[in-house]
């Protein structure tokens, strides 16, 4: 209530204007001070006060080391990538945690998704170029919404060599809160998601530049 009264007073001050312009009204808030101005001395005093308060606030709101580490997993930039273990098309099991130390692109896709089909060859070219430096791709097929046969046909048609994982029961779709296909997650060597790209297709340049950044950061 008090705020509302002060607010009304401020509005009335703005409309009246004159007293403030003459530098006699010291009650008005920052808006009026800046817009209409008090005397130079009052303005300078207020400016110094605001800057000092700002400095104190910045110092008081510094992040503690415990705030810096987002220890929990979530499908969002800055968080640990949610863990999963899935079977690949060739029958072996891959666990995300086992790849710690490598920058990874997790790409969620389906064979019927046109942007997914469009970006896969670009992903292959980038994989070919950077895999010797430790970069890897986990292409997770949304098998629950697709079919193993369709995924296999698509992979064979283009000859992709990176691991193709099968999300048969929707585990990864649920963990990564899948909203649209394709969805891509750039995970750094420490297991943290550095960027999320929802939708596509991604260009080679986007993929390559991100991979270069993460490779550089992991060295």
């Amino acid at each position: 209530m008090h705020c509302a009264i002060v607010g009304l007073q401020l509005i009335s001050d703005v409309r009246g204007g004159g007293a403030i312009r003459n530098g006699k009204n010291t009650r008005a808030g920052l808006i009026i001070l800046v817009m209409f101005g008090l005397t130079e001395r009052h303005f300078n005093l207020l400016a110094m006060g605001m800057l000092l308060l700002g400095g104190i606030w910045i110092a008081a709101s510094r992040l503690a080391p415990s705030d810096l580490a987002q220890a929990q997993a979530a499908p969002q930039t800055g968080f640990l990538a949610p863990q999963f273990t899935l079977e690949t098309l060739s029958g072996e099991n891959i666990t995300l945690a086992d790849l710690r130390g490598h920058p990874i692109l997790i790409n969620l896709w389906a064979s019927w998704c046109l942007p997914c089909r469009a970006e896969m060859p670009a992903i292959q070219r980038v994989y070919d170029r950077y895999r010797d430096q430790g970069f890897t791709v986990l292409a997770v097929n949304m098998t629950l919404q697709d079919s193993r046969k369709a995924a296999e046909d698509f992979v064979n048609e283009f000859g992709f060599t990176f691991p193709i994982l099968l999300d048969v029961d929707g585990q990864v779709a649920s963990l990564y809160r899948l909203r649209a296909l394709p969805s891509s997650y750039f995970v750094d060597a420490y297991g943290y998601i550095q960027e999320v790209v929802i939708g596509g297709p991604m260009d080679e340049a986007l993929l390559a530049s991100r991979v270069e950044q993460f490779l550089e950061a992991s060295q």
Binding site: V14, G17, I31, V34, M35, F36, G37, E40, F43, N44, A47, M50, L51, G54, G55, W57, I58, A60, S61, R62, L63, A64, P65, D67, L68, Q70, Q72, A73, A74, Q76, T77, G78, F79, L114, A122, R125, V126, R129, R179, A180, V197, I198, G199, M202, D203, E204, A205, L206, A208, S209, E212
Partner: protein, 247 residues
Amino acid sequence: MFPILQIGSIAIQVPGLILLAGLWVGLTLSERLAGETKRQPMRPGEVSNLALLIRLAAALGARLGYVLRFPSAFELNPWNVLSLNPGLLDPWMGLTAVIVAATVLAERKALPARILVDVFTPMLAVLSAAWFLSSLASGNGYGLPTALPWAVDLFGAGRHPTQIYDTLAAVLILVTLWWQRGSFRLGEGRLFFVFLAFTSASRVFLEAFHAAGAVLPGGWRANQILAWLVFALSLWVLQKPRKTQGT
């Protein structure tokens, strides 16, 4: 979070849609402001033309900056230089290009830079609000965990709804400046620097509730320090004409 609007087989990026809508609303307000002033330092049509040229310069500069930063990334497919992907832009080079383009255009049209920045302030204020609203849609710029009753459950914890704080602050600044626009003499640059002062002050305060963002050694938040410096600069500029006019 509402990053994608799925209409049939088409997936529309909601954050991008919000930014485009913000650009349109902002340009409309800037044109209206230019048309409202008695001296009409710029014709409303001129505002759109200038905005188009500046946007073009921003896009070219930002893309050029990105190509220069990651030249080898474009070796696989050099046509990607022409890609429409916003992820291939360098924001700092884009900002530099905007400043250079605005300076050159202002000089060619014999318009003082102060007029230019004043006229485009409503556009910047709307874009600022649109930016934070787009963060709400994308889930970026999330807050620190809190036990406050208005915390939102996000990424496994109750968090400060920072995107809502930020959007509200930006809308408040926009509404205040638009409501008080008659109090400014367009072309003095004060409208722009008041906007800058309010926005940077709000960033100093609100960044404290953010969980994401660059952090310097010792836990200092880079965004807060940058905002504090911009706030100091704005106050210094706002105080300056008062000295010369002796009021």
